[in-house]
């Protein structure tokens, strides 16, 4: 289990991490969310000792993370980088060996991953000869080649086409199913909502929400109502206290209400002026929750 406990980091006047704590079990997938500059990358680099933390602890199974532990971790940094003139398969095997694999195992693992990511025919190509998308895949394979216990990926979905997004999502799910702890940051919240059980939302260096995604959504003080009406006046709003209009389009209204507002009152108000085609009530989506929590 990964344990981040009260980590702090200051860059001059900027407090990048102001005492963050969260944890991640093996076999779980955690979406690490936050606006740009919130401290996500600093926290991830802190796990690998790539920034010297001012305070706090990074633990693996309760013990401070050191060189030995990091060999069992895989990292895909935000700024991608491989040796451009080195052959793909050799490079993956090299990273495998740096993580402690024997030469044969490393070579076999490199070919397995190339096969799995559809790069087998490019094994002997230099990295610089690969397309952008294929370089991304090679980078992913470099983080996975040694079958890590903890996988940390900084914006792995950025810049991928929808097919590649699907492949990567499948790979991450498989890694978690194998028993790896998977931590990744992303701005694609709909995707996070689809594949993650847990999220951590960080803002200004502090954790603003942490836990099971569904529980976090339900814990929100607000609820969402989607209402499709026929024959309502174009500027109609339900006359119920605590209702806020989020959007109105083609007769569909999206409303935000407090958790204590009874949705039946909204439905009743709507039925008084028009016929209701659709009425949905529920907790906010991750996207909405995110905006609520990090509103500036």
């Amino acid at each position: 289990m990964l344990g981040i406990e009260g980590v702090r980091k200051r860059f001059g006047p900027v407090e990048a991490l102001a005492g963050c704590s969260f944890s991640l079990e093996r076999g779980r997938m955690l979406g690490f969310l936050g606006p740009n500059g919130a401290g996500k990358t600093t926290a991830m680099r802190g796990i690998f000792g790539l920034v010297e933390l001012d305070g706090g602890d990074v633990l693996w199974d309760g013990r401070p993370v050191g060189e030995e532990e990091r060999l069992r971790f895989g990292y895909m940094p935000e700024e991608r980088g491989l040796y451009p003139r080195m052959r793909v398969a050799e490079q993956l095997a090299y990273f495998g060996r740096l993580h402690g694999l024997e030469a044969d195992t490393a070579r076999a693992a490199a070919f397995d991953w190339l096969q799995r990511l559809g790069l087998a025919d490019r094994a002997d190509a230099k990295v610089e000869e690969l397309s952008h998308g294929n370089q991304q895949r090679a980078q992913l394979a470099a983080a996975l080649v040694h079958t890590p216990d903890l996988l940390v990926l900084d914006e792995p979905f950025a810049g991928l086409d929808p097919v590649a997004v699907r492949t990567l999502a499948d790979v991450l799910r498989d890694e978690a199913a194998r028993g790896a702890a998977v931590l990744f940051s992303s701005h694609q919240l709909d995707l996070v909502e689809e594949i993650c059980e847990e999220v951590v939302i960080i803002d200004h260096g502090s954790i603003v929400a942490e836990g099971e995604l569904d529980a976090l959504r339900r814990a929100s003080a607000r609820r969402r109502i989607a209402l499709q009406l026929e024959g309502a006046p174009s500027d109609w709003l339900p006359d119920v206290a605590g209702v806020e209009l989020l959007a109105r389009r083609n007769g569909t209204l999206r409303l935000a209400v407090g958790r204590d507002v009874d949705p039946k009152h909204v439905l009743a108000a709507a039925e008084r002026v028009a016929s209701v085609v659709e009425f949905r009530y529920g907790p906010p989506t991750l996207d909405e929750l995110f905006l609520e929590l990090v509103a500036r």
Binding site: R45, F48, G49, L50, V51, E67, E68, R70, L71, F73, Y75, M76, P77, E79, R80, G81, L82, Y83, P84, R85, M86, Y94, F95, R97, L98, H99, G100, A142, A143
Partner: protein, 381 residues
């Protein structure tokens, strides 16, 4: 993973990738070709030697012919014989540099001005024997000089000293450039983040320096081996004993490389992302250039002076100055030992410093980390 394993992996990757690079193969072939061409040129332009020998009248008949024949095995050298009235006249002529040697047959003596020319002596000896129908091993002639011989460095020693230090300087700068370009490449394309997530910075640094050092050493050894082969084959003239001076260059290449390669690596780690490896390495290259010229000036003016002695033991200059001074005038053993101890201490200090700032510099993108900032951080640790 233990550090040695990581260092070995990094070093072997450096060697493998560089052996494959066209630049490495091309540079090796080019240097070997240059060496071959220079050997050819030496053969072509090597002037025929002519020994001018004076002999007291009356010269025995057949002496001139015997000298000619005796000189033939020595690269077709020529001998010009002059007859002088008396031994005194001969000595005067020798003093005035009118001849190179004076043959006093009555005394079985060959007199030189100051230094005995071994070849000329051998030629004269063989000729006199032939004339007298004597057989070796008794030497027919003894040699003497007008003045006590001076211990001036011979031409070959001067060549070894200056060419050797130039070669050392160039190879330190050349292989240092490999180190820095490797470091800057890793830093600029960010692959270093992935590596440092698994490998300690000092192991990465050590692997890089050792890998490139071994490769440079192998390349130099190939060149030195070929040069030695050419010496043995007699392509170049070289006196005996020069081998020790040449051999001295090797340990000092290793020490000098360790010192300057680490400095280059630190310069690369501290470079900004806009800098290329050439500009990032300039401070170290300039330092190396200054060291080279300081050594050159000190040795050319007075190889046994105070400045030359100081530069022999000063850690930054010792790798270049010591082998050159050794070839020129010899260096006392205590200075060898002092220089080695000081250089090793300097390497140790630099590696410790580098270990601290290397990771900071590598992971610090954008504007690059200045040496002063790096020093501050390293001291604060």
């Amino acid at each position: 993973m233990n550090g040695r394993r990581a260092t070995t992996l990094v070093a072997s990757r450096e060697i493998r990738e560089r052996l494959r690079s066209k630049a490495f193969i091309a540079s090796t072939v080019l240097i070997l070709a240059l060496l071959g061409v220079s050997a050819l040129l030496v053969r072509l332009v090597d002037p025929q030697e002519t020994y001018r020998v004076a002999v007291t009248a009356p010269a025995p008949t057949g002496l001139a012919g015997a000298l000619e024949r005796a000189a033939q095995p020595f690269d077709d050298a020529k001998v010009r014989l002059r007859t002088v009235e008396s031994a005194a006249a001969g000595r005067r002529l020798l003093e005035e540099r009118g001849v190179d040697a004076l043959l006093l047959l009555s005394a079985d003596k060959l007199v030189f001005r100051q230094n005995v020319d071994v070849k000329a002596a051998a030629v004269a000896d063989a000729a006199v024997r032939a004339l007298r129908n004597e057989l070796p091993p008794t030497p027919a002639l003894t040699t003497a000089t007008l003045h006590p011989p001076e211990h001036e460095p011979g031409d070959a020693a001067v060549l070894v000293a200056y060419a050797g230090s130039l070669l050392l300087f160039m190879s330190l700068a050349f292989y240092g450039q490999w180190v820095i370009s490797g470091v800057v490449e890793e830093k600029n394309n960010r692959v270093v983040e992935v590596i440092l997530s698994a490998v300690r910075p000092r192991d990465l640094l050590a692997g890089k320096v050792i890998g490139i050092g071994l490769l440079g050493f192998a390349q130099l050894a190939l060149i030195a081996g070929l040069a030695a082969g050419m010496l043995v084959a007699g392509v170049f003239d070289a006196p005996a004993g020069l081998g020790v001076d040449i051999a001295l260059v090797i340990p000092w290449f290793v020490l000098g490389f360790a010192l300057y390669a680490v400095a280059y690596a630190v310069a690369g780690a501290l470079a900004s992302s806009q800098q290329n490896s050439e500009t990032a390495g300039q401070p170290v290259t300039y330092a190396l250039l200054a060291v080279y010229f300081a050594g050159y000036v000190a040795l050319a003016s007075d190889p046994e002076g105070l400045l030359a002695s100081l530069l022999t033991v000063f850690p930054l200059t010792a790798p270049l100055v010591l082998p050159a001074r050794g070839a020129l005038v010899g260096v006392p053993l205590w200075q060898h030992l002092l220089a080695a101890v000081l250089v090793l201490a300097a390497i140790y200090a630099l590696v410790r410093f580098a270990g601290r700032v290397y990771a900071l510099g590598l992971l610090h993108g954008g504007s690059g980390l200045g040496l002063r900032a790096a020093w501050r951080i390293a001291r604060a640790d």
